[in-house]
Symmetry: C2
Subunit: 288 residues, 2 copies
């Protein structure tokens, strides 16, 4: 009995309907687009490698400051000091390494005005948390046509700046969402990017104690960032190419339709024809 045979007999819950494009063909596949190296951040942890795509269109000030911090090697060596399973991994406090920073505060950019220039791919209206959700430039967004606002949603894998009560108090500390989307934080934080590769690595970040709000008081016990590097600072020939789905492509529209209309015989109870924008698979692919 071969392994291949055994595998065929295994029960599977229904497969994710991923478009199984071979990695080598992504550059020619209209469903995928290559990420601009200016918007790509390579984060190395002891646990592995992570790729982040920045979103300067929605968070220009935050992205500008984050890029500068990355180029200044500000984050290299810092730990994730507040990590709550199912919620967030937060890190990037310079005082950890005695970096008493004069880094400026970032003004709130929690949402932005709607523009008809957006290549908006609708997903769900109404959503539980917003009048409408969808994708723009590969990012999950929500919008309120009533006040002409649109914002990046708190889906798993998003990266946002932490802050104090003052809305304009973001500086260096950021968090990555590692659990069920905390959508109540939408429109309240500077969301500025998303993890496009290596969420399994992020999931290995050491958690803090549940009864102390996830805070790891001993810095030596934290998972640490070895280095962050901006894609455009890495020579072309050394840099891995990163691809994400073009959420404005016909291929992505097919994916959304297949996930909304569960016609497969596997479904004995037909699911309601709704989609959670944070549950649409949207990870990137990396080629060497």
């Amino acid at each position: 009995m071969t392994t291949a045979k055994r595998k065929r007999t295994r029960p599977l819950i229904l497969a994710l309907l991923l478009l199984a494009a071979p990695l080598a063909g992504l550059a020619e596949d209209p469903t995928w687009r290559q990420v601009d190296p200016d918007n790509l951040v390579f984060m190395e942890l002891a646990e592995g490698s992570v790729l982040i795509e920045l979103n300067p269109r929605f968070a220009p000030k935050t992205v500008k400051q984050f890029r500068q911090l990355v180029q200044d090697h500000f984050y290299d060596g810092l730990g994730f000091y507040r990590v709550i399973d199912g919620f967030v991994a937060q890190g990037g406090d310079g005082s950890d390494l005695g970096k008493l920073s004069d880094v400026p505060l970032i003004k709130a950019e929690f949402e932005r005005p709607w523009s008809n220039d957006f290549a908006f791919t609708p997903v769900q209206a109404p959503d539980l948390f917003a009048p409408e959700t969808g994708f723009i430039d590969g990012f999950a967004v929500a919008r309120d046509p009533g006040d002409d606002k649109v914002w990046l949603t708190h889906c798993p894998g998003i990266i946002a700046m932490a802050r104090n009560e003052d809305p304009d108090s973001s500086r260096t500390d950021f968090y990555i969402v590692i659990g069920q989307a905390p959508r109540y934080l939408d429109r309240n934080m500077n969301v500025f990017g998303r993890v496009i590769h290596g969420m399994d690595v992020i999931q290995q970040i050491r958690r803090g104690p549940v009864n102390d709000n996830g805070i790891i008081r001993d810095d030596m016990q934290t998972s640490r960032m070895r280095s962050l590097r901006l894609g455009s600072d890495i020579p072309d020939e050394e840099r891995a190419a990163a691809f994400v789905m073009d959420t404005n492509s016909p291929g992505f529209a097919d994916l959304l339709r297949d996930r909304r209309e569960r016609k497969h015989r596997f479904f004995h109870h037909e699911p309601p024809p709704v989609l959670d924008v944070c549950q649409v698979p949207n990870a990137g692919r990396v080629t060497k």
Copy 2:
């Protein structure tokens, strides 16, 4: 400058409003209830220890068979052979170790009739995926008053039996949800328990290749279960006590209200007064 001082200056996104009961006092705290050892499964992985609470009220046949498999040491040594980040970790195929099983198939128990005996704590109506959500016995549920049915929802941490197309084809293979709730699977699977401790351990389970539907074809490469043991098979004096929130308690009602009404000054944009039943923190606590 002390560490404690530094920590106070760190920006925090708003704390989870957990009821910070000291572990030692859980047995006397009306917000918590101790899990019946008959419904407790201790799962040991190389990555760490996991505790599962079974739900015989919603899935009596599945729980009966799973308990028997645990007591037969069926799962000891088996791997997680299909692991997709953000979706599920699936394991429990006996052929992995050459266990050609005569384990019977389990009839579908995807939902059950509503009963007024349920201590139902409502959370959200309407929810995106169901007319109403809430908690029963600590488990997230959804219900449809229209057809008098109630079911366990696919929240992160739930454990359910995998199956083939036939609704009555569950046997030994199970999956644990490790990402954004795949609620489209609700009412289609035998959900029979939830991880109440050690989801950070489950998150360390080795992922399979994204372009091969998460399947790890080489069994030697999988994360493996060292042992599963039923709580009631462990002598009282050796067994850790596990507590979960009593979702019918006033303390839990307070938690729900605090999460729905975000009155804290941190929120400059007041979130909509809705709750995602899968985003309510509901992890258990373990005492030695």
